[in-house]
């Protein structure tokens, strides 16, 4: 198990390194930020001075090496736009994004699994068919459109929920959270639902497929032949088996949700990393964009690692093999 984790960590490091290269080259292709940052009446000398100040006068490979050297010490450069270090800027926005993403994932699980189980156990019932139909909608409606509709209905038309910002927050261990205040919670609901919709559909389909497959297994019939109550057969024998794929996919999707929160954050002006990214992209604020991408990559890697470990914990068959390696 330890060897396994160590090997995965080494792989992860390689991935992160490869990403630095891709990200760095990628943002260079977008365009020169200097064109946007300098004032219109700036002459050639002023232009060169700006380039030098931002370290953009060096050849590309040297820029990369400088970046890499600084990155190792945790310095991802200063924001071109506001001149503060990029990394803390992103990290400061991280709790808002994580709060949104985790709330969305929570919704996906507590709504998706029960509905998916229902649809799997009663596939021919009206409810079962309605659930599956709804999940198709959840898959196909674009997130931004649903977001706008949510604002229209709940904020504008009904006027029951706020549509922008985080609302009132409280500090817990130095981290600002919305979810603990009533006002904050009200602000969280719409963006979280918006972000969760696709994932709910995903979890429904995954759970349903798992249930359909599991209930035909001999061990489920045998559990019934032993006289277990239907509730125990479903909540223990079936659920425990479908949790393996569900946890795996939900875990892997968490990284996705964090990345995708860009859309919901923008629509609902949720002050997270995603909104910062969009604002920074507009200004071609390279260090912030790079810092965002690096942090996202790191999160993906860490999440994947955690999911792998969780997966082995859930499936005793894999656990044993892992120990044998």
């Amino acid at each position: 198990m330890i060897i396994y984790v160590a090997r995965r960590l080494a792989q992860a490091l390689l991935v992160v390194f490869a990403m630095t290269l891709i990200v760095f080259l990628g943002v260079n292709v977008i365009g020169s930020p200097v064109d946007i940052l300098i004032s219109p009446d700036c002459n050639q000398a002023c232009y060169q001075a700006s380039l030098k100040a931002l370290g953009l006068d060096l050849p590309l490979h040297q820029q990369y090496l400088v970046f890499l050297k600084n990155a190792v010490t945790g310095d991802l450069g200063k924001s071109f736009a506001i001149g503060v270090p990029a990394l803390p800027l992103i990290v400061e926005r991280m709790p808002a994004t994580l709060e949104l993403a985790l709330s969305a994932m929570f919704l996906a699980i507590v709504i998706g699994i029960p509905l998916g189980m229902w649809a799997g156990l009663k596939p021919d019932s009206v409810a079962g068919k309605t659930i599956m139909g709804g999940s198709i909608l959840g898959f196909s409606l674009p997130t931004f459109w649903v977001g706008l509709m949510l604002i229209m209905v709940f904020a504008v038309y009904l006027g029951v929920l706020p549509s922008t910002g985080r609302g009132e927050t409280v500090q817990v261990f130095g981290v600002r959270l919305s979810i603990l205040t009533l006002d904050g919670l009200a602000h969280l609901i719409l963006p979280a639902v918006n972000l969760a919709l696709y994932k709910i559909s995903l979890v429904i389909r995954l759970t349903r497929a798992g249930v359909r497959e599991t209930i035909t297994q001999d061990y489920v019939k045998f559990a019934r032949a032993r006289g277990l109550k239907a509730r125990r057969v479903i909540l223990v024998h079936v659920l425990k088996n479908i949790m393996i794929p569900v946890v795996t996919v939900v875990g892997l999707e968490l990284g996705n949700v964090i990345a995708f929160s860009v859309v919901s954050e923008t629509i609902f002006s949720w002050p997270g990393m995603g909104k910062l990214l969009i604002d920074s992209l507009r200004l071609l604020d390279r260090p912030v964009v790079v810092a965002y991408l690096m942090i996202t990559v790191l999160m993906f890697v860490v999440i994947n690692l955690i999911v792998d470990v969780l997966y082995t914990a859930l499936d005793p068959r894999i656990r044993l093999q892992g120990a044998a390696i």
Partner: protein
């Protein structure tokens, strides 16, 4: 002998998209306490469906269409699910064919044994655990205390089947339906398990239905044997009667193809032809395309004759007084 189970004219069918499949058709038999009934028939002849029908485990699109299943004089057909559940595992237990699939792979053995105890008896967990351990010991699993904490994949196939049998024995049921429990195991282990199950059932006077496609297994184990072909019971009687004086041409063919009745080095004698599809079977005898005695009379549904008490054959031209 007290009659534990009497099945009368059982009919179970499945509604498939190609039509109705009558997997079990007009099947009647009975088992007494302490008796072992062997049900023999080739794959697809309806043995498993018969077993599931007794436990009320026929799921849609399947349905019991007719007949009675009298367990200790109470008809189980049509019993509501919550009543039926009280019988399953408590008074009627079942062992499945493939031990690799019958235990839940993600739950420990003790979890599965203890839940079996608690499904029917209100005892505390310590007592339930004790009973789980004793049951494992009873079926010959070494150091049961340690093995309790194992997962199914940590057991061999034979050991898993012992665990399944331990679960079947937990509540000292009056009837056990064993559906080819040793088919997936190698011969030595098969022999051990047969011997132990036979002993346990005789000791506790449990009625046992032992399903198998292998006549030689049933011959060494059962008191009585029932032969199934294409959903119908074609012949039944005491093991000695049926093996020594088969009356149905199919039984006779089965006996003829046993390895012990064949000369070494020569190809095994086999019944020619193939099992018919159960879909839209016509009225006549389903065996007629393979039967050496078939004639025009076999186009009608063959009659059931009862030459002696407990002896039955479903054939228009039964063999009398000896093999073919």
């Amino acid at each position: 002998m007290a009659e534990t189970l009497r099945v009368e004219n059982l009919r179970t069918s499945f509604l498939t998209k190609w039509g109705e499949v009558t997997a079990v058709d007009d099947v009647s038999f009975s088992v007494d306490a302490g008796e072992i009934l062997g049900i023999v028939g080739e794959s697809g002849s309806g043995k498993t469906v018969t077993g599931f029908s007794i436990l009320g485990l026929i799921d849609p699109p399947g349905r019991i269409k007719g007949g009675r299943i009298l367990f200790q004089d109470e008809d189980l057909v049509g019993l509501p699910e919550n009543r039926m559940r009280e019988y399953r595992g408590k008074r009627i237990a079942m062992v499945f064919q493939d031990p690799m699939m019958t235990l839940n792979p993600v739950l420990r053995i003790d979890t599965q044994l203890i839940e079996s105890v608690l499904a029917h008896d209100k005892v505390d967990r310590v007592t339930a655990r004790q009973r789980a351990r004793d049951a494992l010991g009873q079926v010959g699993i070494p150091s049961p205390d340690e093995r309790l904490a194992s997962y199914p994949h940590q057991f061999s196939g034979g050991m898993r089947q012992r665990v399944a049998i331990a679960m079947a024995l937990l509540h000292r049921p009056a009837l056990i339906v064993a559906d080819e429990p040793t088919t997936a195991l190698d011969v030595t282990i098969q022999g051990q398990i047969l011997f132990e199950v036979q002993k346990l059932c005789k000791e506790s006077r449990t009625a046992l239905i032992w399903i198998s496609h292998d006549l030689s297994v049933v011959a060494g184990l059962a008191d009585r044997v029932a032969v199934m072909y294409a959903g119908k019971l074609v012949e039944q009687g005491s093991v000695d009667d049926v093996l020594d004086r088969p009356m149905h041409p199919y039984t006779s063919g089965l006996i003829g193809s046993l390895p012990s009745n064949n000369i070494r080095g020569q190809p095994l004698r086999q019944i020619p032809g193939m099992t018919p599809s159960l879909l839209n079977l016509s009225a006549g005898c389903a065996f007629r395309t393979r039967c050496p005695r078939a004639d025009a009379a076999c186009l009608e549904s063959p009659p059931v004759s009862v030459p002696a008490s407990g002896r039955e054959v479903r054939c228009a031209h039964p063999l009398v007084g000896g093999g073919s």
